[in-house]
Amino acid sequence: MVLFTAAMMVLFSGVLILPFTGRANVANTAGPAFAVIGAGLTLAAGFDAIRTGGFDLISPWNYQLGAVHLKMDPLSGYFAMVIAIVCGLAALYGRDYLKPYAGKKHLGISWSMFLLLSASMMLVITAWNGVLFLVAWEIMSISSFFLVIFESHRPGVLSAGWTYLVATHLGTAFLMVMFMVLGENHCYDFNVIHISGPMPTVIFILAVIGFGTKAGFLPFHVWLPEAHPAAPSHVSAVMSAAMIKTGIYGILRMSILMGPFQASWGWTLIITGALTGIFGVLSALSQQDLKRLLAYSSVENMGIITIGLGLGFLGFATHHPIIGLLGIAGGMLHIMNHALFKSLLFFGAGSVRHATHTLDMEKMGGLMRGMPITGSTFVIAAGAICALPPLNGFISEFLIYFGSFSSLYGSKGTFSVLAAVTVIIALALIGGLALACFTKAAGIVFSGNPRTLEAEQAKESGAFMTTAMVILAALCGCIGAFSPQVIHFLGPVFDTIVAGHPLEEASLAPAIVCLTMISRVGVGLILLVFVLGFLKRNWMRDKIVEKKSTWGCGYVAASPRIQYTASSFADPIVSMFETTLHPEKDLKTDQSLFPRAFSYKSRTKDIFMYHVYRPLFSIVETVALNLHWLQRGYNQLYVLYIVVTLLALLFWMLWI
């Protein structure tokens, strides 16, 4: 408790002090310092909560809507650790990232908002009162909105910010309804809700929509690909790796409070997760903007997390605790894993943008030579996100796979085999598509010949940025290598989630045995690669090693333009899924005998954005414009409206 309180005090004093530190380097040093100290303290608090069970803090003051009640159990502690790692490293990274803006933008306010975002996320995961939760939630949304529009002078940034603000508030509206339904008699304390929760399924659906908007579930994901490319990279990393996880936290917390899990919840989550995951990765594959690709890939990973949790819920609802445990363990571990590799990828994208001043993958290439650290860590993160052993992504997906395979034999007939098959097909398809997506991202950006002059002259970013990336890459490797220990350490977290469900001797011990084997094989693989490399090097010592140009099948005048582009790499798959993606292709040919100018454009727009929300909001706009005559701008008229409304209400009351 002391640690957490100290962290909050550091963060909030930073929020208050920083706006006065001005635009330049003072703010850019003080901001990260506050954030790193705050994050360090929160990390310790989270670690402590998992080890010892956390704390329960009720303020003595009572307000109309309940007390200020903060509680950190192992589940909150786990999320606190995720948020702390991401925020601390993002602050470290942001120090160098924001340097070029010193003096041009008000960095004090930007860092103040960053600290506010970190603090509010930590409040969200510890709030034990509905009203407090919503207040923290709202602060989180607003502060992240201000961070997104940091570069408001760039075209498109403001409109992206608006999309985000509208989306997040529509989500919050559902949450308000949910808490209103929950809080009978104006009691919003989670302890009370726990007892009186009515209509669990209605609450659950409201939670999935409300929290799902934040988490980026299909079809509420549309703000992600808009907001992430607009925001500075350290902010994108925090939003994508930590903030959207609060949505998952919300769903989990509400489900635990509503408990026991129901089969329909599990099914809802599995189907939502499968659709979200497949759509997310497909859309990611078809992007040309690096950060937009990463944003869609966040949607995909939220899908994987949801599939895992759904499988867990379903397992417990149908009395197969072992399947339930595996699903929940996989989903929960993927939260941490995704936080690690996705922030690493966003950091990489930010470094690339610093070096090349663009995010368009078609204008990159060959960056590995100029930026070896960014490039190598990006490749590691790409491997992790494709769930390749021995990196961390594989461990979480393995647990989910293992759960669904276990469901096939462990419960013939009783447990729905359909669920297992859905999970396996979805995960396998997502895995294959993710491999295509991230070989494209890493390969087109960092390999091959530079496609532009900027790409050719790219330089490695500053020491703080590279340090943050190396730490994250190392963490990805560590979770992969020490997976049994990690799962063992997270035991209390899983216990918190499944508390109240009969376990019937089920435990994660068999899974830990498998993970031990996997980590051994993984370490063996790496050792084998190094041994082979060493042998080859010795063998090659007296051999002739030449440096030539790439074999172009006899063609010697190859230019970088001849290379496969990001779009052409993805085209076969995009065409295969044409019905889902609706790629727009525009080929202008010259029909004359001596054709000169050809042009070809291809672009994939989000079908939900362009075919659902745009038409919907234009209808809303038309209706709103038709009511425009009500607004005349005279104060007297508005007073009249108030009077008329009051009278109408009065008559209505009398009528009843």
Partner: protein, 296 residues
């Protein structure tokens, strides 16, 4: 019993380069030629290892790491699979998930190495490779899913040894199709064509030379061995309890599968690129059918 396990792994290390030789002999037989010697790949490997190498100026560490990863994955792959009734050396529950994703690692590096050269041909091959593999993966995982549903086990070992006879052919078909796709054989890919434009896997390794190429070729041979012994394990009858008998039957079945690959290569043409996804989806459906047969 223990010794047979080691025997399988050591045999795989030594004998896997014979498999492409057998395939080539079968093809030569069908074409009425004498064909290359069965041991041709050994000669090739020895020759390649002794040569120097040429690296493109465009390439980075990824290009040099890729052959090492391919070979290492192949080595671990053969340690994981069972052959006939002989269990795999590293067998544990969930080993097949690891196996599928291990080959993902080698694919990841091969594709990145292909893009690393900046060659348009290799980019093309890489693009096709990821497209086909994304369809092959669900087929393979569903096939293994059917196996685990049938046998009530989650390790490949026990999975194969406790399988009813009825669904075996269907499953064997599904996994065999995946074998053809993953090992770049006809009808998915033609390793012997002289046109870079039409190749998939071979074009991705166009720029590798010398010992690097040897490592890749050896890794591919081990991968073919891995998939072939997966398929072979479905053919070997369960009644053989003798460890050495089972092993022998396993080797026979393995040879059978290899001959089958050669047969298909002799009597079929390479499919149009557009048709390939359909065949892979077909394999997925076969896996699904066998799963339904088991659960019904």
């Amino acid at each position: 019993m223990k010794f047979t396990i080691f025997f399988h792994v050591i045999a795989a290390f030594i004998l896997s380069p014979i498999l492409p030789g057998i395939i080539n002999k079968v093809k030569a037989f069908f074409a009425g030629r004498k064909g290359k010697p069965v041991l041709q790949m050994y000669y090739d490997l020895v020759k390649l290892v002794q040569k120097g190498t040429v690296y493109s100026r465009t390439t980075t560490w990824i290009f040099q790491a890729s052959p090492l990863v391919t070979a290492a994955v192949g080595i671990i792959g053969v340690m994981l699979v069972p052959l006939g009734n002989t269990p795999g050396m590293l067998a544990f529950s969930g080993d097949y998930i690891l196996l599928v994703y291990l080959f993902g690692v080698s694919r990841f590096f091969t594709v990145l190495a292909a893009l690393d050269t900046g060659s348009p041909f290799e980019g093309m091959g890489a693009s096709r490779e990821v497209q086909f593999s994304l369809l092959a993966e669900p087929a393979l995982l569903l096939g293994l899913c059917a196996l685990s549903a049938l046998s009530g086990e989650t390790s490949m070992n026990t999975m194969f040894t406790s399988l009813q006879a009825g669904t075996r052919p269907v499953l064997a078909c599904a996994i065999f199709i995946v074998l053809l796709a993953e090992n770049a054989r006809i009808p998915f890919d033609d390793p012997t064509t002289h046109l870079e434009l039409t190749m998939v896997h071979e074009v991705m390794i166009l720029d590798h030379s010398g010992p690097d190429l040897a490592l890749i070729e050896y890794g591919s041979a081990l991968k073919l061995w891995t998939y072939a012994s997966l398929t072979a394990s479905l053919i070997v009858p369960q009644e053989i309890v003798n460890a050495w008998g089972g092993m022998g039957a396993g080797f026979l079945a393995l040879t059978g599968v290899t001959v089958m690959v050669g047969l298909i290569e002799s009597i079929m043409a390479r499919l149009k690129l557009i048709r390939i996804p359909q065949l892979l989806v077909g394999a997925t459906i076969l896996s699904l059918i066998s799963l339904i047969l088991i659960i019904r």
